[in-house]
Symmetry: C2
Subunit: 203 residues, 2 copies
């Protein structure tokens, strides 16, 4: 296998990720992907056999990458609030590169419910488990109002991910440029922390 193979294979995957996860073109055709990568459409079948297998491949890669980032934050031995601050940062930053990733997963799993289990095993190693002990401790110390780990994590995911998903809509409603929306999302890191903890975010 020459170096070219790895290059073009990666090129195709990168361009596909761009179309699906960055631009949100959930129905991008093999032709559009090939055009984006500047190669012949047949190459997609040469490297991945079928459109579906290519989707599985890039989703797999991306989920594993995201999972690794998230896991390393949540399983670190930082104090609880610092850990959550890092988590918010990681989630929003990752979302800035692939804002439509969740959207893709949602529509993909709606069509192929059988794939959900496999996907979920990759996306989150039940992140609520990773923080449940520390969360309970906080609650016991009366530093936080009682809340289940599940609701706590869903709150966090929602606050971080939704504004990324809904980018085009929110941006239009509030009349923001791309730059302004980016700034809005960065601002949100603090907002989210404050919403969860009712205090300023540490750095």
């Amino acid at each position: 296998m020459g170096a070219e193979e790895l290059q073009t294979e990666k090129l195709i995957k990168d361009k596909a990720k761009k179309l699906f996860f960055q631009k949100g073109f959930l129905n991008a055709t093999t032709q559009e992907i090939a055009d984006e990568a500047g190669v012949n459409r047949a190459l997609i079948h040469y490297y991945f056999r079928s459109r579906e297998l290519m989707l599985d491949t890039i989703l797999n890669e991306t989920l594993l990458e995201k999972k690794e980032r998230v896991r390393s934050v949540l399983s670190s031995d930082l104090p609880f609030r610092k850990k959550i601050a890092h988590y918010i940062n990681a989630l929003v930053d990752y979302g800035l590169t692939y804002p439509y990733l969740d959207n893709f997963i949602i529509s993909e799993t709606a069509r192929h419910p059988d794939k959900i289990r496999a996907f979920c095993a990759k996306v989150t190693s039940k992140s609520s488990d990773l923080i449940s002990e520390q969360l309970e401790a906080e609650i016991k110390k009366k530093k936080l109002a009682p809340i289940s780990p599940e609701h706590f994590m869903v709150n966090l995911s929602a606050l971080c991910n939704y504004p990324l998903l809904a980018k085009s809509v929110l941006q239009t409603i509030h009349g923001m440029t791309d730059a302004a929306y980016r700034k809005f999302l960065i601002e949100r890191k603090q907002i989210i922390y404050r919403t969860i903890f009712n205090e300023e975010m540490p750095d």
Copy 2:
């Protein structure tokens, strides 16, 4: 025009809404819609001319309906916190019937950015405007930490809508049945209110 026409036209629209907004089949074909409605596929073209025009129609209807519900809550003369409680209720309840509506809009607007303006004009009459005065008053009275109306509304939308969008994923991660997830969503109404206001939700 006979009563039949209105019946089948509505039947087709209802079944299409079910496929797109309830089941999340973003790529449902005209054939699938026809099958779901138990009619010949050509009827879709008879009533709506093309697949795209039908999508525009059902999305229009649904957004207007949702907008009306939301607007009537936010423009009522209830006290602020009661109003927000109603809003959370309305949003989650509506989401329970059409969990994938946002998802549909997101992917549709990603493909056809020109349509965003039209959609947004229907979905929200800048809901942040409807509450900004009351919000500022709350903040001035020190009953709430300072936050912009935009961030406040995005927080609310995120907390309400994301768990609906991500239903299949969250349900699988936490191993919930449909009934359990529904219960989880109902619970969330209180959770969301508490997350925003740090106090129990009134009824």
